[in-house]
Symmetry: C2
Subunit: 250 residues, 2 copies
């Protein structure tokens, strides 16, 4: 028995999210189907977290346990030739048995990408939300500064969130100016349901002068979802990286 850590990337556009669901095309479903053929076992994939329908990943991390004699490092290479083109197995390696893709994760970085061209760019349309409006980066950075730190993020998660403890730490929140657009890049200890999409919706409201950056502390304090901005659509969101403790980050 060995435990294998798998780094995958995917274009979430044509998936009903990460989690396996009967009759739906999902990341977990495609991976488990390919691994069942490869290992001749029933394999259960554990991701660092679920991504919603339409959300992408550059650096999603999974683990699974197998009795298969296939060298751990070869798994990604073989999977690349088995998986559909919108999931790429980037690399694989054996990890200690106490590694867990979700429980061992120390931080995650998400990126929300926005295209401000008048006509959307056809080549990045699957990975950027089209919002052809000017924004005030300075105001957005001021608002982002209020979000950094340890807070109860109840105002910034879906009203359907079942988790009771909504305290999370945001380590960094950057507004990155790009050609014909910008990106909101956020690193935190963990994220609640829809949290990054609501952070993006709120920061863009600030950028468009519909919300004062100084209002953020009161929105956090309210612990009321209706106080923050809209939930932005999934297509602009990418899970960029998952960080592990060095001894789990082999």
């Amino acid at each position: 028995m060995k435990k294998i850590k798998l780094h995958i990337a995917y274009d979430g556009t044509d998936f009903s999210g990460f989690q396996r669901q009967p009759g739906q095309r999902t990341i977990q479903g495609e991976l488990e189907n390919a691994l069942a053929i490869l290992t001749r076992e029933e394999v259960e994939i554990h991701g660092s977290g679920r991504t919603d329908a339409g959300v992408h990943a550059q650096g999603q991390i999974c683990h699974f346990v197998t009795k298969s004699p296939i060298p751990a490092e070869k798994v990604a290479y073989i999977l690349r030739n088995m998986l559909p083109r919108d999931i790429v197995a980037v690399s694989s390696e054996e990890v200690p048995h106490d590694f867990h893709a979700r429980k061992s994760a120390y931080w995650k970085t998400y990126r929300y990408q926005i295209d401000t061209r008048r006509a959307p760019d056809v080549f990045s349309r699957r990975y950027r939300t089209h919002l052809p409006y000017p924004v005030d980066f300075q105001a957005m950075r001021e608002a982002a500064g209020h979000l950094v730190g340890t807070h109860d993020f109840t105002s910034f998660c879906s009203a359907k969130t079942v988790v009771e403890d909504r305290v999370r730490t945001i380590y960094r929140c950057e507004i990155v100016e790009e050609e014909h657009g910008y990106a909101i890049q956020v690193t935190g200890s963990g994220f609640l349901y829809n949290m990054v999409r609501i952070l993006a919706g709120t920061l863009v409201e600030v950028g468009r002068k519909q919300l004062d950056p100084a209002a953020i502390p009161a929105i956090l304090a309210a612990c009321d979802r209706t106080q923050a901005g809209p939930t932005f659509p999934p297509e602009g969101l990418i899970l960029m990286e998952v960080g592990y403790h060095p001894w789990n980050n082999l």
Copy 2:
């Protein structure tokens, strides 16, 4: 009656090429269907040239004639909300009646994009061909230099080409080094069937040391398709720009 010039961009992945074909999803078909609704006329779209199935465009130019009173500049904006997401109407304008998208074209620029990462990048996989091999850029540039100029390109077009006159002029042929890959960018007076895909296939053979750059003049002189390299797949190819005389380039 007015003549309207339309700049469009498309992701060719899910199209059976530019040209209208019964029962197939094509660029021309989608445009003509949308314009029929918009203008309440049967509209015929003329492109600067056809692109094959799977080939993309950043700067395809078309024209059509209409009696519709819709202001020419508004056409692109209205089309953007009618067309599927993989075709973008970038801009539109009225042009003189002697403008013709194909006949007035003076030059075209195509770009062939290659991803050299070991695992292909999932976000650009639709627009780059995955060839994870090192290449010798210097040798490729030497070969490209032999292609620039006016030549009979019979060796560099599909054996199925029906056009008799295969003399074309290549004005520029550049090898552009990029992050995790490279691109071959070529500007010419016109291109024969599959010509850019064969140029790319031949230049990459040179880059991989399978062909000597000094062999290019003899390959051109042979006027024999079997002498040049392979026809590369369509996904890496993008029609970047079509050039018109200044007085047609209004």
